[in-house]
Subunit: 257 residues, 5 copies
């Protein structure tokens, strides 16, 4: 995934003739509409941290780089400046399935670290990856509101997530997941990992039809032990989805229906 | 709520003819005056963090986005740059009423988590929301001075608000509220939540006829346990309300009566 | 008080004709000289954090806002950019007098919180405010060097100033004051509070005829318990006073006698 | 080593004629291609932190300074701005060899600190330096993906790497190295030290044919005691290698095959 | 001392004719060469934090302010922008001599705080100041490489330098000095204090003929208790001395022999 936060250079943009603005906006809208099929979306953001957010899902880094370069070649790009961005890879929480595998293999009498164990594990992971393909390569949700923020697990002197035993981490993640599950159908949560790819360990992208649910969900989760004690949060970005129909006018005139 | 802090690009503004400045200022003033009916206000700020602050109350994020886009379409906007902003939702402290509900339901013999409890709770919350509507959707106070700052509850390794039991948090919030109550009629306090919407957990907007009362109130509160131990503060912004009458001249000439 | 740190946009300034520069510099110098009577001063700063510092004392926020707007209307202001600023209110340390009042009232047999106590307290504070008027509304010191920095009292997990009992805070402030007193006649110290007005809790402005005394005083104080354990410091700014005579040439030509 | 992160000033670049762009791009590409022989490489980066990353290996600081000045003399450099950079020196982990030397010399009956010891040590270090020359002056790896980040060893109040006894540090580094070794042939890791040269203590540059391996390796390592407890991380940068063939077109047109 | 880090605005510089560039460069070089006699030097820096570093030694703040203003009046200054700077005063470590004085006076039977003690102390300090004059007002070292960084002594909740008894601080400083002494003749170390003058407590400027010695020295020192536990470090800057001969060409053409 690539999130791009962009700010209008409005004075320069408005120095153009309406015809030039319309032409550039239409060209951009048509490229972005075509990109939509590859799972890209545009949002009109609240506040000064960015006027527009572009979110891209692609199969690999090459696809993201191509998307980024394609947008940067648009004439309209001269009138936008990047305020921030985020590079990450959709991932699935593996605490529950890892625990299940250990239990299952244990019942089968497999010895951790043995060849039989390793072989069974490789097989099982391949099976899961296949089963989870649709969740690993999701389609762009079409809710009206989106919220994005990056986060870390803390490594404090006393409270250090990476020194907590697996079973405790699995328990905390399970409790955390229970809260998330209460919002199923209300808030769509896409978790992406960015260790080694960007400045935080995870990116969280939420989609909902009611933006107050972002606040409700995250506030409720803040009391989960895993968040209260071990979560570090970056900046929060919130905005409204811009449909293909609304895009040319928003770009050209700064107006959203 | 949306707070927008803007800085003048004075050199460019003054390169315009006085007529152009006056025309742009008048157009902006009339849009802002009309917005005033929807609960927007303008402040002349002290210091380098912004020359003007726009504060908007709206019913929903769409209304805030519309306000933001409407202002950004003004020609005068080319001569302003955003230094910061804040997105939040007015909220009411629920510690006291939650505690009261638990007591009340307990006296009625309701079991927490039972169907009867949940039903009574939903009923009670709906009743309260209705009763509190005027406080949830406040009119813009018209005091001469305003102060804005964002804040967090701390999640330190030892002192972590989100790990404190409810009863202790309720007690600390009650003591805190007692200090606030001493300033009733002197400082109007609007608390808004921004978990999941912006970078801090809350925004505090204060209004008063005497700006020294901001200092007095906040200093006194700093000794409250909830502030002393658990509050993290962002930047502070202070300014003077610009009335509809003063607005055109301030915008055109940088003069405030 | 308002401190304004400004940086020259030299390339643009020097693109002007010498005549235009001289005219703008003279106009600014005459406005600033007139402002001097209202207690404003200009400093030529060391380093990249600002070329000029303007310090304004006024009776209220309105006066500061007027000063700021008046300067911003000067043509020369298009050639300066604000790097930082600070808003604060001159205040007097009250630990000693508060302790004295408690002792005095106790000796008189007054009960804290009683009506008699409150009445006597109001009377006493009014009396003190009158007596201290010259220190609350100081004239601008005319030493050659000034040093400014903002500071906080720390609220750490273990070491939290706002959780320390009054008597201990009073003792530490007394010891701290003893060090300050050693520099009477050498370094003039103006303490201003900025809780609720700006990003730190206090601003400290020092004036001296020998700038090494700033270093000596602050280094000596750093070993005071109240500084060593409880002080958090912002950035430090140091500069030379620009007299009315030197001002036009410094502004026009960047030269200081 | 010098890492340079650069961002395009696209509006200015595109204001040039296609012929001028092509000429400047070709000149830059030919200088960079020639530099490649001296071990320089170009990467197309993901996200807003930089569009291009230049990585230079040279024998000394003078060579790096020459490379930096040579690039800055290119006409195309007027259309790029530096967002960050990193100066460091390739180094080899010496924990294992130091421990081995102590053991070896001990077996030989040498007394630490004696003249015999010092002489043997100087001899041994000279021998190792010679043997390790190829690893100290590596050729530029030619994998398709690179990841760069700076890091520190933490000096917390409780957990302070520089107060940990040598034997414990050696043990932790050994465990850490074991994880790195699992990725041999998958991720090429070049560790460079920057104490006294840049803002972090080390720079880590990873090269791989599959960028997910960066995430996998670093996430796995995060549970190593040395990383979990003692590592502080800076920003992460990830990008795709630009071959000599692709360079002119990427520079001129912003397109990568 | 004043350190000035400056970055070229290359696009604007190169828009000038070669004749104008040469004229401005020559004028600047001749001013800087003349300043060299007053102990100023120029360095070509590695990385994005600055292209040039100017280091000035002067007798007082007025001299530094004059140097800064003189450079800022150069036409070439319009093509440079300050990225950072540092103001500090050369100082000598007094832990050893203070301890020696106490011992010496004790042996003489003087009582600390007595008039005899104070008189002897004033006499002794005057004597030392005279003896140390050459070290307090050093000539600019002429090594090829320089390294600059600011630093603090930490005031953590547990580990607070300013709460450590004098004897322990003196012992740690002594051990630290022993490491520094090993590099005598290899790395020239100039320590300057900046408490009350700039944002850190000290500035460290190192000069050497081999830049790897900066890394070696600072890494070795990092294990000293005083550094490991009590040192906080700012940014590090490293560069090559530009001789009077090389200066015009570096300024005009960006080339260093």
């Amino acid at each position: 995934m690539l999130h791009q936060l962009m700010r209008w250079k409005r004075a320069a943009w408005r120095a153009l003739t309406p015809e030039d603005r319309a032409a550039m906006a239409n060209e951009a809208a048509s490229v972005l509409t075509a990109m939509g099929a590859e799972q890209s979306a545009v949002f009109s953001m609240l506040g000064h941290k960015g006027d527009l957010m572009f979110v891209h899902f692609r199969r690999d880094l090459d696809g993201l780089n191509r998307a980024e370069l394609a947008l940067s070649r648009l004439p309209i790009w001269d009138y936008l400046e990047a305020t921030t961005s985020y590079v990450s890879v959709v991932e699935l929480g593996l605490y529950e399935s890892t625990a299940r595998i250990y239990r299952m293999f244990g019942e089968r009498g497999l010895e951790p670290g043995s060849d039989a164990w390793d072989e069974a594990l490789a097989e099982e992971l391949a099976r899961q990856r296949k089963a989870m393909e649709p969740r690993l390569y999701p389609a762009m949700p079409d809710h009206r509101y989106a919220c994005f923020y990056p986060m870390d697990r803390r490594r404090g002197e006393e409270k250090n997530w990476y020194m907590v035993p697996f079973a405790d981490r699995a328990r905390m993640m399970h409790e955390h997941g229970m809260v998330g599950r209460k919002y199923q159908g209300i808030v769509r949560q896409i978790i992406s990992g960015s260790v080694g790819l960007d400045d935080w360990e995870w990116g969280v992208t939420l989609f909902a039809g009611d933006p107050l649910q972002f606040k409700k969900l995250i506030y409720e989760m803040r009391f989960d032990e895993v968040s209260a004690v071990y979560a570090g949060f970056g900046q929060f970005y919130v905005g409204l989805r811009v449909t293909n129909e609304d895009l040319p006018r928003l770009l050209a005139e700064g107006e959203l229906a």
